[in-house]
Symmetry: C2
Subunit: 205 residues, 2 copies
């Protein structure tokens, strides 16, 4: 089975269990003749792919009554992968979503680690510090790097832990963030696992 | 008594109980002959004021062993105003500090409301939404404006409430933020109250 997660600058392929990246500028859909299942946040490329019968948009297999219309398709996929738990996708934004017995219970969107650090730096040169991932998030800070780290991460981590469900973490910052969460499971294939689940239970293209 | 809180673009005066603002560009220190107590985050102007005997820098009255060297002087002042409680200064950043029995217990720095919304907007046009201050922060969101509001505010508000002390809120976004906090007291004069306390107990210049 060939899966493809299409972003704005790269394609993330998952072909028979092997993952690889490709730049959009190096991509030509007509080079592929096999059946390919994809999701896309790239509206321009999505329009192009509609002309190809072998490219199947997984968004058409989603029961959108479970979610909301403007919810990102990546977020829907990681939710589809898990029937019970909190799913944290730590990328440019950090999305946190709750699934209960296969039903979507809602979620929220925090800033990503890089985005938050850039926003602090923009406020003042004094706040242009890297987060200190060694800090104890349970205590109040007494220096600037710890104060911004605790200020951004402690409320977020407390909130995720308070949801009282198993936590699954995926995305580029999954390892860093999982170290701060209680018993979190890192799984960087969640988006593809969600796609596979939908393909298996849904109508094929 | 004449107090002045000097920022990078404005001076915030407090003269015999009356508050007024002045642009830095309209300010000439030699026009003032009275004794003036000030704090300043404007290092250029601070250097100029050292030449004037009637301008007394309150930072010199602070017992810096209680705080940390890079802590903003505005933050120190609002802490000096309160001997027991959590002080939230909701400005360009949101600083949260804990005082217990007159001792500083540490704190943290979150992004300000405007700064956070700008950071979301920078991530994606889809996240370029205003916060919805009517949202119920205790439940997970099912639309984009609520998802970013809950994502930024719910963890922060929960964290502040969890500190288990009376909450005092000051700064430009004090009213908006106080409405989300349990029994918070809005006091936009905290910085001046801290200055007065230090002047009364400290060495005069």
């Amino acid at each position: 089975m060939i899966l493809c997660d299409i972003g704005n600058s790269t394609l993330d392929w998952y072909i028979n269990g092997i993952r690889s990246k490709q730049r959009i500028m190096d991509f030509n859909p007509s080079e592929h003749t096999e059946q390919i299942y994809y999701i896309s946040v790239n509206s321009k490329l999505s329009s192009v792919l509609k002309a190809y019968d072998n490219w199947c948009d997984i968004a058409n297999l989603v029961d959108w009554n479970k979610y909301y219309p403007t919810m990102g398709i990546d977020r829907v996929m990681v939710c589809e992968a898990i029937s019970e738990g909190v799913i944290v996708d730590a990328g440019s934004a950090i999305t946190v979503d709750v699934m209960h017995d296969g039903h979507y219970k809602g979620g929220f969107i925090a800033l990503g680690l890089k985005s938050a650090q850039e926003a602090y730096a923009k406020l003042s040169p004094a706040l242009s510090e890297s987060f200190n991932f060694e800090v104890d998030l349970t205590i109040m800070a007494k220096n600037t790097p710890d104060a911004i780290t605790v200020g951004f991460l402690a409320p977020l981590i407390d909130k995720i832990n308070s949801l009282g469900k198993p936590v699954y973490v995926t995305g580029g910052d999954s390892v860093v963030l999982s170290q701060l969460l209680c018993d979190a499971i890192v799984d960087d294939l969640l988006v593809f696992k969600g796609m596979i689940k939908l393909i298996e239970k849904g109508q094929l293209c």
